[in-house]
């Protein structure tokens, strides 16, 4: 209970701080939300994206799941995606992975963790698909990082293939897709893919990557 109490205490303290500086802060945000960003990230507790990017409430629509997956049959993600694009009209959709991701780690090994094993099938596919590149990598850490990067790229690709995004692109609306990785060691965001605005762009990114590592 001590931990929970801390949440309430902190909450009270923050509300007081904020309202003393700006009495209408919360009232203003009770109305319509018009966020510019949809953030699809990992459920990991070490990735406090709002704090890291300094966005205030109302600016970012957030969806998080283990290993920031975009699965075409995931009703939860699809609802979020459609609502964000068609109703909230967000301009940017960000898929963000992070190093030291437990989900990715699990997918690289053979250990069983229960239900999440099914969820991570996509990451396992990515590992297998890029086996030659990964085997060529210098060390275990480097290999892990590469899978995280590849996973983000793969999810941007999945995102680009969803009917919601395809439809929006066809109608000239442009949610730009971005793939980012949060480096948990130094706190910086690193870009994997920026301003993807069409299905060809993702394919190009995969090609470019393959060429750069001589695959």
């Amino acid at each position: 209970m001590e931990n929970l109490k801390r949440l309430f205490d902190n909450n009270r303290k923050i509300v007081e701080e904020v309202t003393s500086a700006d009495p209408d802060f919360f009232k203003r945000r009770a109305g319509k939300q018009e966020p510019h960003f949809l953030f699809i990230g990992c459920a990991d507790s070490r990735v406090p994206i709002e704090t890291l990017t300094g966005v205030s409430p109302g600016e970012m629509f957030v969806h998080r799941n283990i290993a920031n997956q975009v699965v075409s049959a995931d009703l939860n993600l699809l609802s979020v995606l459609q609502y964000a694009i068609e109703v909230l009209d967000v301009k940017h959709v960000i898929v963000c992975g992070h190093y030291q991701c437990g989900g990715v780690k699990a997918a690289m090994g053979t250990e069983s963790y229960g239900l999440v094993d099914y969820w991570l099938a996509g990451v396992r596919d990515t590992v297998r698909r890029h086996a030659s590149e990964l085997e060529a990598s210098p060390g275990e850490d480097e290999r892990f990082k590469r899978v995280v990067d590849l996973n983000v790229l793969r999810q941007v690709y999945n995102l680009a293939r969803t009917p919601v995004v395809q439809n929006a692109w066809k109608r000239g609306r442009r949610p730009l897709l971005h793939g980012l990785v949060y480096d948990i060691h130094d706190g910086f965001l690193k870009s994997i893919a920026l301003e993807v605005d069409g299905p060809d762009k993702v394919r190009e990114l995969f090609e470019a990557r393959r060429r750069s590592i001589g695959d």
Binding site: Q33, E34, V87, L88, D89, R171
Partner: protein, 540 residues
């Protein structure tokens, strides 16, 4: 036995087209024969109704009486044969009397006027070639129904004086202000003060008979329709009065009055021929074109109206009708007849008398020709009161309360044009009234159309992006609706206008959108256009 196979094969194979036509015609023979039994009696009724109308309209037109009969014969036989309508009767029209009177006066002679009638017929042929008949499809149904009901009311009101023996106005008048300084209503009031007992008796008996006829076994006697019985009974009653109650005997002014020449050869004098020298005057052409256009309109209206009365709901081709009417007017003009049009009263009487095919209209023309020559003295015994009873009955059916209540149930967009058409026709005349009715009817249609949504907002309420999908057709009439939508948008709002489903967007609407694209920038509205091919900015 291969030859037998050949015969069998030929017999069982589908006949060639020409053979098929013959086969179809032969198959229809029993049907045609059956319709004889309906059409012959109906034609007699129409003939009896038409006779005083032809004479009355000729009288009112200031033309020789026989000109009306000629037009009746041509309208029945020639137009009847050429027309595609099964039940419409053509002949001299009350709606044209005003034009005819003025035209005869301005052209100086009836012969010069006949030349104009021929021109009118030629104009109708041209209209037929130009496929102007499609106009007929644009008469709003509510207005046509209003016209029928108005004609029904006019028939009842105008015939009441004839029914009680107040035969001052000419038969077939449809104008509110009569030539004798009375109007429809004062004429009825005057008439009710001057009852002619013989006429009242005849018309009341006639009306009673007509209203109960269908409830008695008499209705099964197809060869003797109620209307014919009423006429025969009227003649009989008048003769009986002459014997029993001489004061009630109707004098000639209350009976059909056909001119009776001394000898058969005198009929030749009744024919008049066009004065072709009139063609050199612009006036003749002006009258001709006016006649052609007005007669075409009246015929198309009558055609549309008769289609509605047809119990078999048959649709007649409009352009063929224009052709038939044009031919009719050319011939009528060439032999000294009045201009012809399709006429609703006679058509309605035709329907009421149980006609099934155009045979009835054709026969009525032949009967007119034959009877006027062979038995004029006999026809002059027919009391106008009997015919008034028939026309009042027809009028009652045309303006039946059931029609009013059914129009009322269809809502104000149907009822208002219907009722306003009736009022307009009652207070002016058929052509002016229907003109007003058509204008109002079209206004109602425009109003209804402009209220039709031309777009659908597909985004949920409160969405940041308002997504507007334009309908398949965005007509000129949608402009106001769309402009209102644009006006309502608040600064800073985002809107997507999706025209990808559109098949047709009116140019002016595209311009409106194009202009909005400019103002949207100033109003800080985020406008996104999808699938719209906009013309360039208009003010550069």
């Amino acid at each position: 036995m291969s030859w037998i196979d050949g015969v069998v094969r030929r017999l069982t194979q589908a006949p060639r087209p020409a053979e098929r036509d013959v086969v179809a015609a032969v198959r229809r023979l029993p049907e045609m024969a059956a319709s004889w039994r309906n059409d012959l009696p109906a034609s007699i009724v129409v003939f009896l109704v038409a006779l005083p109308l032809c004479l009355g309209i000729a009288l009112a037109s200031g033309a020789p009486l026989f000109a009306g009969v000629i037009a009746g014969v041509v309208g029945g036989v020639l137009v009847g044969s050429l027309s595609g309508s099964h039940l419409m009767v053509s002949g001299p029209a009350a709606g044209l009397t005003a034009i005819v009177v003025a035209a005869i006066a301005s052209l100086g002679s009836f012969q010069a006027f006949l030349a104009a009638v021929v021109i009118g017929g030629a104009v109708q042929l041209v209209l037929a070639v130009m496929r102007a008949g499609v106009l007929g499809y644009y008469f709003p149904s509510s207005v046509i129904k209003g016209m029928l009901a108005a004609i029904g009311l006019i028939l009842v009101l105008k015939q009441i004086p004839h029914a009680v023996g107040y035969d001052v106005d000419f038969e077939g008048d449809e104008t509110f202000l009569q030539a004798n300084a009375e109007n429809t209503f004062t004429a009825v009031l005057h008439a009710l003060q001057r009852l002619e007992p013989g006429a009242v008796l005849i018309s009341l008996v006639g009306l009673a008979l007509l209203f109960v006829w269908d409830k008695t076994p008499l209705k099964n006697v197809r060869l003797l329709p109620a209307q014919l019985t009423v006429v025969l009974l009227g003649v009989a009653l008048d003769i009986a009065c002459a014997a029993a109650q001489p004061a009630w005997k109707l004098d000639a002014s209350h009976l059909v009055t056909l001119p009776i020449p001394a000898q058969l050869a005198d009929y030749a004098d009744y024919f008049a021929f066009p004065d072709w020298s009139a063609l050199s005057r612009g006036d003749t052409w002006r009258v001709g074109v006016t006649l052609g256009v007005v007669a075409s309109l009246e015929s198309l209206l009558s055609l549309e109206a008769t289609d509605r009365l047809d119990p078999y709901k048959r649709e007649a081709p409009a352009n063929r009708e224009l052709f038939a009417q044009g031919a009719g007017n050319i011939v009528s003009g060439l032999i000294g007849g009045l201009p012809v049009t399709g006429v609703i009263v006679r058509s309605a009487a035709n329907v009421d008398a149980g006609a099934r095919t155009k045979l009835s209209a054709i026969l009525h023309g032949l009967l007119l020709a034959a009877a006027v020559v062979s038995i004029p003295a006999l026809l002059n015994h027919i009391p106008l009161a009997s015919l008034a009873a028939i026309l009042i009955f027809t009028g009652f059916k045309l303006a039946h309360p059931k029609i009013w209540s059914s129009m009322w149930r269809q809502g104000s967009s149907q009822f208002l044009p219907f009722a306003l058409t009736i009022v307009a026709i009652l207070l002016t005349d058929l052509l002016v009234g229907i003109g007003i009715g058509l204008a109002l009817g079209l206004l109602f249609i425009l109003f209804e159309h402009s209220r039709q949504p031309c777009y659908e907002i597909v985004s949920p309420k409160g969405a940041v992006l308002t997504r507007v999908r334009l309908n398949e057709q965005v007509s000129f009439l949608s402009k106001a609706t769309l402009a209102k939508l644009f006006e309502r948008l608040e600064p800073g709002s985002r809107i997507e206008l999706d025209g990808s489903q559109c098949r047709h967007v009116h140019h002016d609407v595209l311009e409106l959108i194009s202009d909005f694209r400019e103002t949207a920038l100033l109003r800080k509205i985020d406008l996104r256009l999808v699938g719209l091919d906009l013309p360039g900015a208009t003010h550069h």
